[in-house]
Symmetry: C2
Subunit: 339 residues, 2 copies
Amino acid sequence: MAAMNRRIVLASRPHGEPKPEDFRLEEVPVPTPGPGEILLRTQWLSLDPYMRGRMSAAKSYAAPVEIGQPITAETVGEVVASNNPAFKVGELWTAFAGWQEYFVTDGKGSRRVDPDAAPPSTALGVLGMPGMTAYTGLLNIGEPKAGETVVVAAATGPVGSLVGQIARLKGARAVGVAGGPDKCRYLTEELGFDAAIDHRAPDFADALARACPKGIDVYFENVGGAVFDAVLPLLNDFARLPVCGLVSSYNATEVPPGPDRQPALMRMVLTKRLRIQGFIVWDFASQAEEFRREVGTWVKEGRVRYREDVVEGLEKAPEAFIGLLKGRNFGKLVVRVAG
Amino acid sequence: MAAMNRRIVLASRPHGEPKPEDFRLEEVPVPTPGPGEILLRTQWLSLDPYMRGRMSAAKSYAAPVEIGQPITAETVGEVVASNNPAFKVGELWTAFAGWQEYFVTDGKGSRRVDPDAAPPSTALGVLGMPGMTAYTGLLNIGEPKAGETVVVAAATGPVGSLVGQIARLKGARAVGVAGGPDKCRYLTEELGFDAAIDHRAPDFADALARACPKGIDVYFENVGGAVFDAVLPLLNDFARLPVCGLVSSYNATEVPPGPDRQPALMRMVLTKRLRIQGFIVWDFASQAEEFRREVGTWVKEGRVRYREDVVEGLEKAPEAFIGLLKGRNFGKLVVRVAG
């Protein structure tokens, strides 16, 4: 066991786009588990857009990361020391260890990861929080019906890719929005999306309209911004908009200039009888087992596919995270820390 | 039977606030019912904010009124001639006769009004479309729970007054917003609202916050504008916002200046996990019988009270409607046309 624990802490709160100097790699002694506790050595570290919110002091659904503390993150780690008979050395468990190599926990809220059932990193992606975000938001709020059109952005990411694939399993038409021709090709050729639109193309809004000839019944909102603007006029009456993220605005530093489009949005809510509903995955915590059983089966049967973008080494986490907010990753972004 | 039918037609599409000259009173021959049809003589005519939308050419959930045609309105009329055995001369029936004295219909969509069960005008108010709007929107989308806080504007109107009273019947705290001290007094002293706030008061937003010390769980949106702005920061996590009207903006002629608050609204939807959902009463058409049975019982038992603002004479409809959009009515605005 290494004597020191490498970790990445928040050096300063980012103003706008995070910069490398907002993060600091440091070494501290490996902590020692107390009675009933275990020591986890991080193997896989998940990088997700929500972490940008935790780096700000603004009020949200979770407390911000304190300056000098490791950035929040879910991990898969190996038990390297255990004072708790429920956790055996050598087992893999999820935890919210944060951006660091070692973590002491009493294991509450952790779940066992079986490396024989699926690659352990999937516990952070298609079979973890992002997958459950897609599953619960789409099925509880989006409620796609056969023949309807479902649109999702960041569609090659772990949330978007599952939203589209579940939409298709429910008989709906899946239209993905992604950045660049490679990602778009992947959506239609590998994941079976009915159409994929490049949001970087100059005729993006027109292309989206052409890909949705019968309008949009479900828009799974995870980006906001220009995609939302292009979606709005295409929404059908009674369209549902589960809102799980607005990544395009996470680095925003200013209130956008006018005109004020809020009243027009509310007018559209009324005349089209839209349902716009925010959620986070933990709102549907009671559906976790059902999610893992059903999506786990789909993955095993090859009915759901996933893609990971693996970054090697904890020290690469800041750069990878900065790229994530710009859409540079291609698939679920995970950091291999060890193992 | 009069030989002529007086009616008020749309003379021109209002730009902004409707003006008397946008309406024209004219006389045309009383129409003759064909096979299976009946002739109704209007007794009561309902004036409602949604009619402003029908006077515009803009796309909405219903087709606009054509220039030269009577303004849309629901009515209670007496059968004065009948070629249909299901409708007997002397009976009262609802219809969408519009702003006129006589109307021929096959009776589809009409319902019989029993003058012994309740005053016939209530079929246009507490026991009609406005009442059902309050009942279905609040119970299906607002879902108030005991101990929660429900806020509604235009609270002395037929929708708002029922929203608040049903909220209280469900054990919630009802806070009404209305224009002026008389209306506010009526809400707390006559209808039993827990608090009433005058939106004309200079400290309106602060007063609303003081009246909602535990935040707002349900905001029944029927006005928009400054009330919505004051409500937003008070919304609790998981608040529900049924959106049935935005009367404060119906006369708007320009897009409001910046900043653009639409992204901030979506951010709040996400962080507070709001549910914002538009509806019109016909979306819940299947609940009409349940509504009339339950609210009818509440009215009979005195658990729900209502107030009407009666205008005498068809020719007064334009002036009364213009006043409605300014909040000049006090209670459900109906025009007594005959009877």
